[in-house]
């Protein structure tokens, strides 16, 4: 068993060096394909984060009738918070609303017009965050007939359009990623097949002198795994070198994004390593198999 593993690893290593041209071609193809896959995966991740960010902006704003007692407001807030589709409810008092209005005017460099007012004309309101913008209708319908609610801001049309766009982009992104994944799969497996076919004479001789299937197969499988390992290491090196400008691009392109660089990096390493080594092994296994089954 140890003889066998040592033999397979030594043969895999020899295979890499003695067929340097094929190894370089296969590794280069692997790197390009993995960069393509990783690139689209990064864009897809950014896109999904951006869409989530947009969807979180959708909230239900319900103005509260003037003169409703505090106890009733607290009671209503508690009931809204219990709704299954709601993540949080923020009570904005009339004073808060006025203060906010002033801040906005100031931030825009406009004159504070509120000082001309005799009393505060703004309503107190609830700002209700939803689990998903698709729940807007349900929450809207429940609130609009509440006696304590003056009016619920109706942005149903807007919500509908946002949902259409985001779900389209999500689906399109997913489909493109799957198509890219399949292209990468076929190209890598085919490249490795070419490297194996180039050595069909060697396999033929091994069969004739009585090598068992395992002795023929495993050196090639290890070799495929090594090409995958080298290919994914180079890919990660390139991505690492490009990480800073790439991060800047992501920031500029998708604006403020809640992407954690740490998890992105870890997922990316798993994706690239897994794809590279996995496809290297799969390609070798399938290619050698055609010579073994007789």
């Amino acid at each position: 068993m140890i003889t066998f593993i040592a033999f397979s690893l030594r043969r895999a290593w020899q295979g890499l060096w003695r067929n340097a041209l094929m190894t370089i071609a296969a590794t280069a193809t692997m790197v390009l394909m993995l960069l393509l896959l990783a690139g689209f995966w990064i864009i897809q991740t950014g896109l999904l984060a951006g869409l989530e960010f947009v969807e979180q902006k959708v909230e239900v704003v319900a103005d509260i009738r003037d003169g409703v007692p505090d106890s009733q407001i607290a009671d209503l807030q508690a009931r809204i918070e219990e709704m299954p589709d709601v993540t949080s409810v923020v009570y904005v008092s009339r004073e808060d609303a006025l203060a906010r209005f002033r801040e906005q005017r100031e931030a825009q460099g406009e004159e504070d017009l509120s000082r001309f007012l005799e009393s505060n004309p703004l309503h107190a309101s609830f700002e209700i965050k939803l689990l998903n913008p698709a729940f807007f209708d349900a929450v809207y319908n429940r609130l609009k007939d509440e006696p304590a609610i003056e009016r619920v801001k109706n942005i149903q049309d807007l919500v509908g359009r946002v949902l259409t766009v985001t779900s389209f982009l999500q689906t399109a992104g997913g489909v493109i990623l799957i198509v890219i994944g399949l292209i990468v799969l076929f190209i890598i497996v085919n490249t490795i097949r070419l490297a194996v076919v180039a050595r069909s004479e060697e396999i033929e001789i091994m069969r004739l002198v009585g090598a068992s299937d395992a002795f023929i197969r495993w050196p090639f499988v290890f070799e495929g795994a090594l090409v995958g390992l080298i290919g994914s290491a180079v890919t990660l090196g390139v991505l690492g070198a490009a990480a800073d400008p790439l991060g800047q691009f992501m920031f500029d392109f998708f604006r403020v994004l809640p992407i954690e660089v740490g998890t992105l990096g870890r997922d990316l390493v798993v994706l690239v390593m897994g794809t590279g080594i996995g496809l290297g092994i799969l390609g070798s296994w399938l290619s050698v198999r055609t010579y073994l089954i007789r």
Binding site: F4, E201, E202, L208, V209, G210, A211, I216, R294
Partner: protein, 257 residues
Amino acid sequence: MTLAPPGATPSLRERLFRATPERSREGQAVLLLHDVTKTYPNGKTALRDVDLSVPEGDFVFLVGPSGAGKSTLIKLLIRDELPTAGSVVLDGQNLVRLSRRHVPRVRRKVGIVFQDFKLLPRKSVWENVAFALEVTGTPGRRIRPAVDRVLALVGLTAQSRQLPSQLSGGEQQRTAIARALVHDPRIIIADEPTGNLDPLISWEIIQLLLRINELGVTVLMATHNADVVTALRKRVVALEEGRIIRDEVGGAYHRED
């Protein structure tokens, strides 16, 4: 020199390869074909009702025109193909009923030599021969003495570090013969081993095969080389259109009536 009763002295082959006595079964058939018919999926019948028995230590020429079925017969012997009907028994094992898993072990009992040598161009003579042992899981310490021994036998010790491209055709074929011998096979099957060589070198290769045969290894050689076959007066098996039309000891390449 003292005379010993027949069978008591170990054969040359045993002395050379240090085989255990019970492995040597002089006179018993190494190869036994019974009613073998091979029809390919395209409907072409390459062999019909072939019966052939090759005893241990025999030297057999397999002759016949191209397309007579020689190549198919050889493919059956190394179980590269299975017969449509009949049985192929090699060293007591019926190849027809052999499971795929056991095929490699049987192939190690057959040393095969081709017209085009089938050497790996990037490996030296020594490495090409050692390759046959490495890929069958032979421990490294057993490889070196075995390779050195067969290279000495074929006379290539001096060339062992050279690549096939640096060798003459005859030397390349001797490398292939050394590789076929390194597993200590029961039978050497040579498919047109002199087909790519000029007459003088061809004789060299034939002499080498004869010497190996004298050491006790059974040899089956398919050939078109009429001069060699007729001159040597060995056993000749002639195939034509898939049938054995002649099987005579001391025969010539062509029928002599």
